[in-house]
């Protein structure tokens, strides 16, 4: 296949016709909109602020978004980004402070105006951002670039795009958040080289390595931890305060207050070397004294985790710390001096932190939007990569990787399939995302059936299936029967979204699955041990039930039942614990049986000896 001829001209860059495009950072906690205005990239204020909280609230008639939602006295829907593109089984309901239900697998949020999907709620946030931009530019907006986390899978990207469409926004492109941040710095500071994007948000941590060169932005590796963020540092400070004030237990409310106090101290520690004060928590007076050094010591585990992820990303890119030309700091949590200092020390290099870390993603998105609509002559091209491998299920539940992770997008890969039965006219194809060898360890993305295959002898039909990931990172699939040249396009409706934790798990497990395999082995061993003792006990009871009184028999049978339940639930620790308990419960029984058999033997010997 050669390149196709394209007659239509590419970007039109007529100097007089300047188009307006915006960049949107649709965040978990805060959202922003920015645009290039008279050559300068700036955020557009919403309710007078550059950051709009990503909050929505409803009553029977009205709707509030942003800061107004917080003050509306109605139930506030927050962090909807954690739900978008997911199915009900992916999320932990207890972590969500508002009411959620579901229809089939689709997540729905209960509001006073009825059930709303995460896509609809996100659309409300986007609408408010969009209308602020429209007001600023007299309705004259060509389109928007919207950012998504580097690890967003197909379903989450698709859902984000759907939300934008629902908000009436023309989506020019979805781009990865770290890529947008680099883009902001790349053009602003006119730099070239290999850069690390260190993005520490409230609850997530992402590392990306990008190559910036002659107008090309190439993401060469991404890694992250969906469970590591600024909030974890709040908890570390809370624990420190509890420890130094000899507090063992807190009520839910006190805990919430103390976390808030910890958060404030964390913020103060970005300005001061040491915090010392007394605070009241209900009836308690807390003495708080924390130095920067204390904070560093207590956060060591968290910092080590950031280092591990940095190392992994460097390894994926086959680079050493000395190969890195700069480090871009993104996310409010990178304001912490302990983070700044440890990252600086890790790379032995000064950091790029002169842009506001809260705004840098939106600024980059705005620049990209401006470039896409053709306002920037000699505009930079952004080349992004797939965050997770795409594969298909083969015989025996194994995964055949079709598009490996970190492939530059857009990318297309074709795979030929054949029939294995006489006259077979349909074929099922199961697309999965993930790094592991087995389908059960990856995430199911879509399942579809190719139909109308002309009936032929087994192996005669040749079906070429093409997997296409477009520049937004979205997958589509088409199939062609080669002998008849019959073509089918399949709309891939992602069957599931992927939970961030699962993505993290999928990424790290492919590398460190030794640990998981060890855990699996422990479980299997525990089950084997447990089953063995149950079987032994059952046999013993069958033979020597007479040695037990009713009470003892009941106790042993109860313990057996508990152990059997634990085995069913497959919890290693419980199984081991209950196996031990059953063992103890049988101790006397075993001793009595031993006595008896000794007696029998002795008796036998006696008889022999007598004889």
């Amino acid at each position: 296949m050669a390149l196709l001829q394209i007659s239509e001209p590419g970007q039109s860059t007529s100097p007089h016709e300047r188009k307006i495009a915006i960049g949107i950072d649709l965040g978990t906690t805060n959202s922003l909109v920015a645009s290039v205005i008279s050559g300068i990239t700036e955020t557009i204020a919403i309710d007078g602020q550059p950051l709009m909280p990503s909050l929505v609230s409803y009553d029977e008639k009205n709707l509030w978004v942003g800061e107004h939602a917080r003050s509306s006295k109605n139930e506030v829907i927050s962090s909807v980004k954690r739900l978008i593109g997911k199915k009900i089984a992916d999320i932990k309901l207890e972590n969500i402070p508002y009411s959620i239900t579901h229809q089939d697998e689709e997540i729905l949020i209960e509001t006073l105006q009825g059930l709303k999907s995460p896509v609809e709620i996100s659309a409300e946030i986007l609408k408010k951002l969009y209308s602020a931009a429209k007001a600023r530019f007299n309705d004259d907006i060509t389109g928007a670039v919207i950012t998504v986390p580097a690890y967003f899978d197909d379903a989450q990207r698709q859902a984000t795009k759907d939300a934008a469409k629902l908000a009436g926004i023309q989506v020019l492109r979805l781009i990865n958040e770290p890529t947008a941040a680099a883009y902001a710095y790349g053009l602003d500071n006119n730099i070239a080289g290999t850069f690390v994007i260190f993005d520490l948000g409230g609850g997530t941590f992402d590392v990306s390595i990008l190559k910036l060169e002659k107008g090309l932005f190439e993401v060469i590796a991404t890694h992250g931890d969906a469970n590591l963020g600024g909030d974890d540092f709040d908890l570390v400070i809370r624990d420190f305060i509890m420890q130094h004030n000899q507090i063992d237990q807190l009520t839910v409310n006190e805990n919430r207050q103390l976390i808030q106090i910890a958060k404030e101290i964390k913020t103060e520690l970005t300005q001061h070397d040491q915090i010392e004060k007394n605070l009241n928590l209900n009836t308690l007076t807390l003495h708080i004294k924390i130095t920067q050094n204390d904070f560093l010591t207590m956060s060591q585990d968290l910092i080590n985790r950031t280092h591990q992820i940095l190392k992994q990303a460097l390894f994926d890119a086959q680079l050493k710390t000395t190969d890195i030309d700069g480090i871009v700091m993104v996310g409010g949590s990178t304001r912490m001096p302990i983070i700044q200092n440890t990252v600086k020390a890790f790379f032995n290099k000064d950091l790029l932190n002169n842009l506001n870390p809260d705004e840098v993603v939106a600024l980059g998105a705005a620049k990209q939007a401006d470039s896409l609509v053709g306002n920037q002559n000699d505009a930079a091209l952004l080349l992004d990569v797939t965050p997770l491998s795409l594969g298909i299920e083969t015989m025996g539940g194994l995964v055949e990787k079709i598009i490996p992770r970190n492939s530059t997008i857009p990318i297309a890969k074709a795979q030929e399939f054949t029939t294995y039965k006489e006259g077979q006219t349909a074929m099922k194809i199961h697309v999965v995302q993930g790094e592991r060898e087995q389908v059960k360890d990856c995430r199911s993305l879509a399942e579809f059936v190719l139909t109308e295959i002309p009936p032929m002898t087994a192996g005669a039909a040749k079906i070429r299936v093409t997997f296409q990931v477009d520049a937004d990172g979205l997958l589509s699939v088409s199939a062609k029967e080669l002998s008849t040249n019959k073509e089918t396009h399949i709309e891939v409706k992602p069957s599931y979204g992927i939970d961030q934790n699962i993505i993290k798990e999928m990424l790290t497990s492919s590398i460190t699955n030794a640990e998981e395999d060890k855990n699996n082995r422990q479980l299997i061993e525990a089950i084997t041990d447990g089953n063995q003792i149950i079987e032994l006990t059952q046999n013993a009871i069958k033979i020597d039930k007479a040695l037990l009184n009713e009470n003892e028999l009941n106790t042993i049978e109860n313990h057996m039942q508990l152990l059997q339940d634990a085995i069913k639930k497959q919890v290693t620790d419980d199984i081991m614990h209950l196996t031990e308990q059953l063992n103890q419960a049988c101790e006397n029984f075993a001793a009595r049986r031993m006595d008896q058999s000794v007696k029998t033997i002795l008796t036998g010997k006696n008889i022999k000896e007598i004889n």
């Binding site: 390149l3 394209i6 239509e8 590419g10 090309l216 190392k311 297309a412």
Partner: protein
């Protein structure tokens, strides 16, 4: 050879990665879907197909092992999984050696050097065979190169994990 044609390069095993990269960047600047935001759906589709093909071709040609495999495929050379008993022995020795030095970083680094040298010498041999058109006996050599390339990645991975 279409991958070479896309980048306007001669179909040789040896190529200038600098030239390849330049050509790749120029082509992506020309065909990437970002350049056709305002174009018709049909043109956007064509841009998508072209840009995907350029990415795929680049990925193959920039990697020396994949490039060699691609060239062998283009020349319709028969390949098999066969390796000489001597190399199979060496392979086993290497695996055992790696197993024995899992925590010894200096040993690992020394081993990586050795494997790199072995890989480089075999790759030179492959280049010579290509330039002398001795393509029929290439399969075994290629298998050895693939093994050594994977194996050095494995050593690097081990080093990275313990440091």
């Amino acid at each position: 050879m279409e991958y070479y044609e896309i980048f306007n390069l001669k179909p040789t095993l040896n190529l200038s990665t600098e030239e390849l990269k330049k050509s790749y960047q120029a082509l992506q600047k020309q065909y990437h879907p970002d350049r056709f935001i305002h174009a018709s759906a049909e043109t956007q589709q064509k841009a998508l197909i072209n840009s995907s093909l350029i990415n795929d071709a680049y990925k193959v040609l920039e990697n020396p092992v994949k490039r060699a495999q691609y060239l062998i495929e283009c020349h319709h050379i028969k390949t098999s999984n066969q390796m000489s008993p001597t190399f199979l022995m060496q392979q086993m020795e290497l695996e055992e050696k790696l197993e024995a030095s899992l925590t010894k970083i200096l040993d690992l680094k020394k081993m990586l050097e050795e494997v790199n040298t072995a890989y480089a010498s075999r790759y030179t041999e492959l280049e010579n065979k290509f330039s002398n058109h001795e393509l029929q006996s290439i399969s075994e050599l290629m298998n050895e190169i693939i093994f050594l390339d994977k194996f050095r990645y494995k050593i690097k991975d081990t080093i990275q994990k313990i440091s």
